[in-house]
């Protein structure tokens, strides 16, 4: 486990012009965000990232775009790096590009996007449109979204990586779809990342995907950590268990996130949010102590009784 020097990071981000967008308090600043290395390179990545599905698709609404930029500013200020999007997510890519420009293009950014189009030949044009929307010179990571035309797109992405136009290549799925085919691709292709759904109630990925990722040296991004907020709404009716304080959790959201990122195969979870306080709360979950195997079992036993 690595940790990023938050003071250095904050100084760099502030120099890039983020300071004006920061809220008055940022709880995650009290600790260092924990990181894990990307297996294929050793590069350290904070355990909590930022997704953009639904939350960043706000069209041309200037007020909402500014709010998203504030969330991004708080995310970087709290030590976050990975922002994930897709051409499927409406205006999210453009909104991210707007936020990055407003924040002075933070150097800490780890840009993760996807290719999502049936036609293999139109993949490069979609990737270029995505890159322009973000306003980045190149993406750090590109993934084949939901395995759509994966044979064709992987060829493109691996060629881009070989040409130095891309740093990492991955594939994604969600809600347990096509895990069989997902595994076959993981075994056969030189992937850097895989992205799957995994949370305290949906642990199917634990059986085969996560162990395979460790064996094959692939980083794992976890999407839908809160099941679109359903898990938080479900558990919010119950008091926070006493053991939550033992692992430094002050909310159910942090309990759910700590469970995910404490799995040794997980590299980064990407919760989505429209709120500055929530993004701070999420990043704070990647500080302090993570639950060990015994505590994870206790967490599962507790929530399954609720």
């Amino acid at each position: 486990m690595f940790s990023l020097d938050r003071r250095t990071l904050l100084r760099a981000i502030s120099a890039a012009g983020v300071a004006a967008a920061l809220p008055r308090s940022a709880p995650a600043q009290q600790g260092r965000v924990l990181t894990r290395p990307i297996p294929s390179s050793g590069e350290a990545l904070p355990l909590v990232g930022l997704g953009s599905w639904i939350t960043f698709n706000v069209g041309n609404d200037r007020v909402a775009r500014d709010a998203c930029a504030q969330v991004m500013g708080a995310f970087f200020a709290a030590g976050g790096r990975m922002i994930d999007s897709s051409p499927m997510y409406g205006s999210s890519q453009n909104v991210i590009g707007y936020g990055l420009a407003k924040l002075g293009r933070p150097a800490a950014l780890f840009s993760a996007d996807k290719v999502w189009i049936s036609s293999g030949s139109r993949g490069p044009a979609q990737i270029e449109a995505s890159r322009q929307a973000w306003g980045v010179p190149r993406f750090d990571l590109l993934q084949v979204h939901n395995l759509l035309s994966w044979e064709l797109h992987l060829r493109t992405l691996l060629a881009m990586k070989a040409a130095g136009q891309l740093r990492y290549v991955g594939i994604t799925t969600s809600e347990g779809r096509r895990h069989g085919e997902f595994e076959r691709i993981m075994r056969a292709q030189p992937l850097d990342f895989v992205q799957v759904t995994y949370n305290i109630l949906d642990r199917e990925a634990e059986d085969r995907i996560l162990p395979l990722a460790r064996d094959r040296g692939m980083a794992v991004i976890v999407n839908r950590p809160f099941q679109q907020g359903d898990l938080i709404r479900k558990f919010a009716r119950y008091p926070l268990p006493g053991w939550a304080a033992e692992i430094g959790c002050a909310s159910w959201a942090q309990v759910l996130l700590k469970f995910i990122i404490s799995h040794p195969a997980v590299t980064c979870a990407i919760p989505t949010t429209t709120r500055v306080d929530h993004v701070q709360e999420n990043l704070a979950a990647s500080t302090g102590q993570l639950p060990d195997a015994a505590m994870r079992a206790r967490m599962i036993a507790h929530v399954e009784k609720l």
């Binding site: 698709n57 069209g59 609404d61 939901n146 759509l148």
Partner: protein, 217 residues
């Protein structure tokens, strides 16, 4: 898309309810005062409906065609497309409906309205009145501000309901004019239901009433 049966409606939701209704707010502010023109056209349709005249069906079809074209361009293509990549396809559907209204209603005079107090005429007239006068206030009932009101001729849902009302009251059932409105009722109803909007049931209910009345005509 493989294993499509494993997807739920929520997997296709691209935006929040807040963003969806905020879009209407920004749209209403941008096109003001065209809402007044649209409402005047709606009142004009009611006046034509109540008055005689062999040309009134043609005039009503022409007004509705203009409304469908406006919604296709000003709302679906210019605004909704910014948050929903499928909006361009919806706009094509709305343009097709406009063309069908011109062909069936204006050119072939196929939307001659019935006279009398039969169920189809009364339901159709009532549906049009609801679309024109009640639909803009629905948001208020569910706690949304008036600036987010969905107005006939400006927003898709009340325009669809109004059109269903007119087609229901036509002397002959014009099935070709019902296809796009029914499809939209499903799409919009599903969108609102996925967003957990409290008025998600309205459009599907309108469609079911229209189907029942049309079949019994």
């Amino acid at each position: 898309m493989s294993e499509w049966w494993t997807y739920s409606l929520s997997d296709f939701l691209l935006f929040s309810a807040h963003t969806y209704y905020r879009l209407f707010e920004l749209y209403n502010l941008a096109v003001w005062p065209w809402q007044i023109v649209a409402l005047a056209l709606g009142v004009g349709v009611l006046a034509l409906w109540l008055r005689g005249g062999s040309w009134r069906g043609r005039a009503i079809a022409a007004i509705l065609a203009i409304c469908w074209l406006w919604v296709a361009w000003a709302y679906l293509l210019v605004r909704y497309d910014t948050i929903n990549w499928a909006a361009g396809y919806f706009a094509i559907g709305f343009m097709i409906e406009a063309a069908l209204l011109v062909w069936s209603g204006l050119i072939r005079d196929g939307v001659r309205l019935r006279r009398g107090r039969d169920a189809a005429t009364m339901t159709g007239f009532g549906m049009f009145g609801v679309a024109l006068f009640v639909w803009p206030a629905i948001g208020l009932l569910f706690g949304r501000p008036m600036v987010q009101a969905e107005i006939f001729g400006i927003a898709p849902d009340p325009t669809v309901v109004a059109t269903l009302g007119v087609v229901l009251a036509a002397e002959r059932t014009r099935w070709e004019l019902l296809i796009v409105p029914f499809i939209w009722c499903v799409i919009s109803g599903a969108t609102l239901w996925t967003m957990e909007s409290p008025n998600a049931f309205l459009l599907p209910v309108v469609a079911l009433i229209a189907i029942a009345v049309t079949v019994r005509k």
